[in-house]
């Protein structure tokens, strides 16, 4: 009995101590961070309605492919729609000469581009973040790390 409790406490402590992270991390380059990014701004950014940071720099949003589990989780979290449900929106925007955010194939590609591009913003699994980027907002959901 006592052994079981100790094991439970130990597992909880280790999870805290080693910072097991979950969720979706919204990332930018460390030297290009705006004051803050909230969920409403994020929704405008990835619909290309917000095109400038407060500094006047252009916002460069970066997406994962529409079939990527993290993209689907991100889109549901931010818009409450699947990527397919946003197709009508992008069809209308194309008619106005507005293209969707640039698509990169992997989370590593997102981190590389975001860390090297002024004004860029993307999303990766919280457990994929490292020193090359800073997390400006964290959302719940997303696939478990390693997927």
């Amino acid at each position: 009995m006592v052994g079981g409790i100790l094991a439970l406490v130990a597992s909880l402590w280790s999870a805290q101590a080693f910072g097991e992270e979950s969720g979706i991390a919204i990332v930018m380059a460390p030297n290009a961070v705006p004051g803050h990014v909230n969920r409403d701004e994020l929704a405008l950014i990835f619909k290309r309605k917000k095109r400038y940071w407060e500094s006047g720099e252009r916002v460069q949003p970066v997406n994962l492919p529409a079939t990527h589990l993290l993209r689907r989780a991100f889109t549901m979290q931010v818009y409450n729609h699947t990527p397919e449900e946003l197709e009508d929106y992008w069809r209308d925007q194309y008619f106005q000469g507005v293209l969707p955010p640039y698509v990169l194939a992997s989370e590593e590609a997102v981190i590389r581009l975001v860390s090297a591009t002024p004004g860029a913003i993307g999303y990766v699994s919280a457990c994929s973040t490292d020193h090359r980027v800073v997390v400006v907002l964290r959302l719940e959901g997303g696939p478990a790390c390693g997927h």
Partner: protein
């Protein structure tokens, strides 16, 4: 009205849908194979690193209406060319080899013409203010601003979007997104002195116009729009008209409900009071097929009866780029009557 034909067309459409699912698998391969060029159907062709993008759409239309010969026509072949750099400037143009839908000053042979649909330069100061100069689509209601065939659910246009105001205006426009009580309110304000670039021969263009439109999203599924305009048109340049409009769109998991209403009165000619509205619903049926229905009503004070239109159709839309539509149209009342069937195929390229 041969509504039974709709059933036949529905069967044909279903067959197409089944074939289309097989084709869609090939489309994936095609999309991947052309990705190296930067091109995907419906997303335009970037012209190297110049900042220019080339795109457009085409549509072919078949119609058989009462008191008219059945006809097939290339209704639109439209090219977009736009440039956007890293600064605030953007250039956009749309040339359209189109068949005009209005009957003013045209005969059957004179409907095709090369239209400058849009030609403008934008300069963005911030998200809250972009200035536009040139020829643009009149921002009244929602339909007119996305009226291209691949973007809408029916081949026929709602009457009020064709008859109550011209499609285009030439002048200055301010566009922006501002925060209103935590909601992103989009506004469009414009001023036109007439001088239309290549006006549509089937339309009565503005001689002067000013107006405002706002669009307010309410949550993630509903948008509300309000339009107001004051203008004069070339046919009756002495008559100033005042217009007010409201529109909405609700979407959820492929279902859609939208509508527009317009009230327009003439300052010195009270009998020219016109009003109209439509409501349209879309229901997904599966296999990329959706059913669409629309009810319209327009009325003019100088006519005894209102015009009513019912549209019922099916749309096969396998992806963002292309669609096939079939619809039955039934009119009644005092206005233009055009009962019959329409179909179209359109592709956004």
């Amino acid at each position: 009205m041969p509504f039974h034909r709709l059933i036949v067309w529905a069967g044909a459409l279903w067959m197409l849908a089944l074939c289309g699912d097989v084709m869609a698998q090939d489309d994936t391969t095609l999309a991947q194979s052309v990705n190296g060029t930067g091109y995907r159907l419906g997303q335009g062709l970037p012209l190297g690193d110049t900042g220019f993008t080339l795109g457009g759409y085409g549509s072919a239309q078949w119609q058989t209406l009462e008191a008219a010969e059945p006809r097939i026509a290339l209704s639109h072949f439209s090219l977009f060319l736009w440039w956007e750099g890293n600064g605030g400037f953007k250039f956009f143009s749309e040339l359209d080899n189109e068949e005009t839908q209005n009957d003013r000053d045209v005969d059957q042979d004179g409907r095709h013409y090369l239209s400058v649909e849009r030609l403008y330069v934008d300069y963005s100061f911030s998200d809250a203010l972009t200035l536009r100069a040139g020829k643009f689509l009149t921002p009244i209601g929602r339909w007119n601003q996305v009226h291209a065939d691949p973007l809408v659910w029916t081949t026929s246009r709602p009457l009020l979007t064709r008859e109550f105001f011209p499609d285009n205006a030439t002048g200055l426009m301010a566009i922006g997104v501002v925060n209103l009580l935590g909601q992103p309110l989009e506004y469009t304000a414009y001023l036109s002195g007439g001088a239309e670039v290549r006006p549509d021969p089937g339309q009565d263009p503005f001689t002067d116009a000013c107006g405002l439109r706002i669009n307010l999203p309410l949550g993630s599924n509903l948008q509300l729009g309000f339009s107001a305009a004051s203008f004069r048109q070339a046919d009756e340049v002495s008559v100033r008209k005042h217009l007010a409009g409201v529109d909405f769109m609700w979407t959820l998991h492929g279902y859609e409900l939208s509508g527009e209403g317009i009230y327009r009165r003439a300052e010195t000619s009270p009998q020219q009071l016109v009003k109209g509205a439509f409501v349209q619903g879309v229901v997904p049926l599966g296999l990329h097929v959706s059913a669409v229905g629309r009810l319209e009503a327009t009325s003019a004070l100088d006519q005894n009866d209102a015009t009513r239109r019912r549209v019922l159709g099916l749309v096969y839309r396998p992806d963002r780029a292309w669609s096939i539509k079939f619809e039955a149209v039934r009119d009644s009342g005092a206005g233009i009557v055009s009962n019959g069937m329409l179909a179209s195929a359109s592709v956004l390229f």
